[in-house]
């Protein structure tokens, strides 16, 4: 089986379309080979020809390079390597999405695309990165990578990178700074003075998370009204509200009230401030992980990433660069396919239906013949044997 894949990969690596990272000789490279569990690490190349020769000769199943660049990239320990800086990398993978295990492959990739777009809005609008600083890649597997290449981020330590992750995932947002309690009137009851407060929402055009939360709250309210009463109540119950409270809120959403909310006044909604905040964050934040405290990838100043243009050993698809305005149309099962149409005989071990290169396949158990591109994918994913 490995022989089959290795031969196919070899045919690709005769003339691969690799895009090499900047500071090429300063990077560490790493490989996994067919049938071998151990990763070969701490390798460096002086010229591009050297790595191309290596790819042709050894035909690896996976190829990685370090986001960091070093004085001595081939030294065995971090200390000897001499860290000089690192790109900022975001790794969006279906593994991190809630409910991904129930989705189809196409469904997962669609869901990750949505996260990718949210990420880009943070990186461009909030962090101010330009087109020239951002490179996007399909990972060859179940996700997308975004590389930020900007001289000011090279030297950020892992603590500072973590702050960037916390920003795009909305972690540590302070509700009190978002929804401000404002005294509108002082009521007198005899001797006693009681301040009447109202909850103020940030304005939609405020910079940073303030504006994002404001826009998300308005969207959520619009959606609730569009959904109609019953569906709206169900939705609110999903956020953990009692049926009674949910109904009260939906009934309270008159035109006048919605307008007031859009102007920034949440008044009676104080009891559900937490609800709005949670759902607004959920709507705006990027899912980088399943809420575990560690998103290893971005904060790590020395991680390995797949080399653009190399093949993913578990799919046979190419790590493919994508332009920002092509995200919507990008179809990995067409655009990241490198193999041809030559028919290959194989035995299906797991029945499936799928669409690839514009063709529909309905595969049942047993022997059959499929184009090479599909054969590679099926064998690599362990759904067929040759």
């Amino acid at each position: 089986m490995n022989d089959f894949l290795k031969k196919r990969f070899q045919s690709y690596y005769i003339n691969p379309q690799i895009s090499f990272p900047e500071r090429f000789p300063r990077r560490e490279y790493a490989f996994l080979f067919f049938g071998m569990g151990q990763m070969a690490r701490h390798i460096s190349f002086k010229t591009r020809d050297e790595i191309l020769t290596k790819l042709r000769r050894r035909v690896p199943s996976h190829v990685y390079y370090s986001s960091a660049y070093y004085e001595r990239p081939d030294a065995p320990t971090m200390r000897e390597k001499g860290w000089m800086g690192a790109d900022l990398i975001f790794d969006l993978d279906a593994d991190h999405l809630p409910g991904a295990e129930k989705m189809s492959y196409e469904g997962m990739l669609m869901a990750v695309k949505k996260e990718l777009k949210k990420l880009l809005s943070f990186l461009v609008d909030d962090f101010g990165f330009g087109e020239e600083n951002l490179s996007l890649y399909f990972s060859g597997g179940r996700g997308y990578h975004c590389h930020v290449n900007h001289p000011k981020v090279f030297y950020l330590g892992s603590q500072e990178r973590r702050e960037i992750i916390d920003y795009i995932t909305g972690r540590g947002l302070d509700p009190k700074s978002l929804f401000r309690e404002k005294v509108v009137e002082i009521k007198r009851y005899g001797e006693r003075k009681v301040p009447l407060t109202r909850l103020e929402m940030p304005k939609p055009d405020e910079p940073g998370w303030h504006g994002r939360v404001s826009r998300a709250v308005t969207d959520i309210i619009k959606e609730l009204r569009m959904d109609g009463k019953e569906k709206g109540i169900e939705k609110l119950k999903g956020y953990g509200l009692s049926a009674h409270k949910a109904e009260k809120i939906i009934d309270g959403l008159s035109d006048a009230r919605v307008k007031r909310i859009e102007e920034g006044l949440l008044d009676q909604f104080s009891e559900i401030r937490g609800l709005f905040l949670r759902s607004a964050i959920e709507k705006s934040a990027v899912s980088l992980s399943t809420g575990k405290p560690d998103e290893p990838v971005t904060a790590d100043v020395k991680r390995l990433i797949r080399l653009p243009g190399s093949l993913h050993g578990k799919t046979g698809l190419k790590v493919q660069g994508i332009k920002r305005d092509e995200i919507d149309e990008f179809d990995p099962l067409n655009d990241a396919v490198v193999f041809g149409e030559k028919p290959v005989k194989l035995r299906i071990t797991k029945p499936l239906k799928m669409r690839m290169k514009g063709e529909n396949f309905n595969l049942n158990l047993g022997e059959t013949e499929v184009p090479e591109y599909l054969a590679v994918l099926l064998v690599a994913r362990g759904m067929a044997t040759v």
Binding site: T77, M78, R79, D125, D126, F127, G128, F129, K152, V153, L156, G157, S158, Q159, E160, R162, E163, I164, D166, Y167, G170, R171, G172, L173, D174, S177, E206, P207, G208, W209, H210, P293, D294, E295, P296, A299, D300, V301
Partner: protein
């Protein structure tokens, strides 16, 4: 800039130029009776740092007062540098820059911006600062300062006047600390201030001893390298990132230390603030938040970048959690 302002900010380029123009030699500052006040105030600066954690503002009634204040700053630095204690270097740079912050935030916007620019901070119009520069200087271990709570747009964080002053404090603190490390004071400092230096050394020793006593049931020799390093960092006043504080507090809590005991260990930190630290500890240990956080696993500690990889020992390689390390050490001692 008048002499009183220069005396308030003796680290400014203008203040240094002023000192140069006065053509007073180190020799004179150290021996001439004329500068006795400057010498006394220099010692006072160091004392304030040690005892109060912030250098005081000394009343300046006339130009002589201001002049003495200006000269007391290099005196204080020479004393600190000659004692060669990292704790003192940290504590002094913090105390001196705290005073600067308290003064700076009262100044007008232009003054703060000019000072920030003098120290290499890039400020755009309307008090905006590029986010990488913000992250370098902001105390992001506190929720209020986390980037996520700041107005960030097109790469720029919009600051209020006092916030810029606070970032400047951090910038200056790092500079001052680095300068103190590089500074080689004239050897006669040790003679001129011998009594004070001995006294300060004793205070430092006492503080150090206090830090070591009473770990209660906990024995630091059984701590994994990461926790040993974090505790040492907290106690010597190195700026420990939020995740680091979080990790050490959850660890100490898990091995059965009470809030007060943990607080006691943290009190050795030069930037110790009892109320805030108590709040943070009680939040993590679940006394106020209702959630008692668990000690992070080795893999989290590694991804947070606080695992001292070069200090890992053979036991580290066999375990996946800092608490297993501690328990294992206990079992094998008995």
């Amino acid at each position: 800039m008048n002499i009183y302002t220069l005396a308030k900010y003796p680290f400014l380029k203008k203040s240094k130029e002023f000192v140069k123009k006065e053509r007073v030699s180190t020799e004179e500052i150290l021996h001439d009776p004329l500068y006795e006040r400057a010498r006394d105030m220099g010692i006072q600066r160091v004392n304030d740092a040690l005892e109060k954690g912030v250098v005081g503002d000394y009343t300046m009634l006339d130009e002589t007062d201001a002049l003495m204040t200006i000269f007391s700053y290099p005196v204080a630095r020479m004393i600190v540098a000659s004692i060669e204690s990292d704790y003192l270097r940290n504590r002094y740079s913090l105390a001196e820059t705290k005073r600067i912050y308290l003064n700076l935030k009262k100044e007008d916007k232009d003054f703060i911006v000019d000072t920030a620019k003098e120290f290499g901070m890039d400020i755009a119009d309307g008090l905006k600062i590029y986010f990488t520069e913000y992250l370098k200087n902001a105390p992001t271990w506190s929720e209020k300062w986390k980037l996520v709570n700041m107005p960030l747009q097109k790469g720029l964080v919009e600051l209020k006047k006092a916030e810029l002053a606070r970032l400047l404090q951090e910038n200056l603190r790092n500079r001052m600390h680095a300068e103190l490390l590089r500074l080689y004071p004239p050897p006669e400092i040790k003679k001129v201030f011998s009594e004070d230096i001995t006294r300060i050394r004793n205070v430092l020793q006492r503080k150090e001893a206090e830090g070591k006593v009473d770990m209660g049931k906990a024995s630091i020799s059984k701590f994994p390298p990461c926790m040993r390093q974090l505790l040492a960092a907290v106690q010597s006043g190195i700026n420990v990132p939020h995740v680091g504080r979080f990790a050490i507090v959850t660890f100490l809590n898990s091995i059965g230390m009470e809030t007060d005991e943990i607080l006691h260990l943290f009190s050795k930190s030069p930037d110790y603030d009892e109320e805030r630290t108590r709040y943070q500890i009680e939040h993590i240990t679940g006394k106020i938040s209702g959630t008692e956080y668990n000690t992070p696993s080795c893999s989290s500690i590694k991804t947070w970048g606080i695992c001292p990889v070069e200090k890992m020992d053979s036991l580290c390689k066999r375990i996946k959690h800092p608490l297993s390390y501690y328990r294992y050490k206990w079992r094998n001692k008995k």
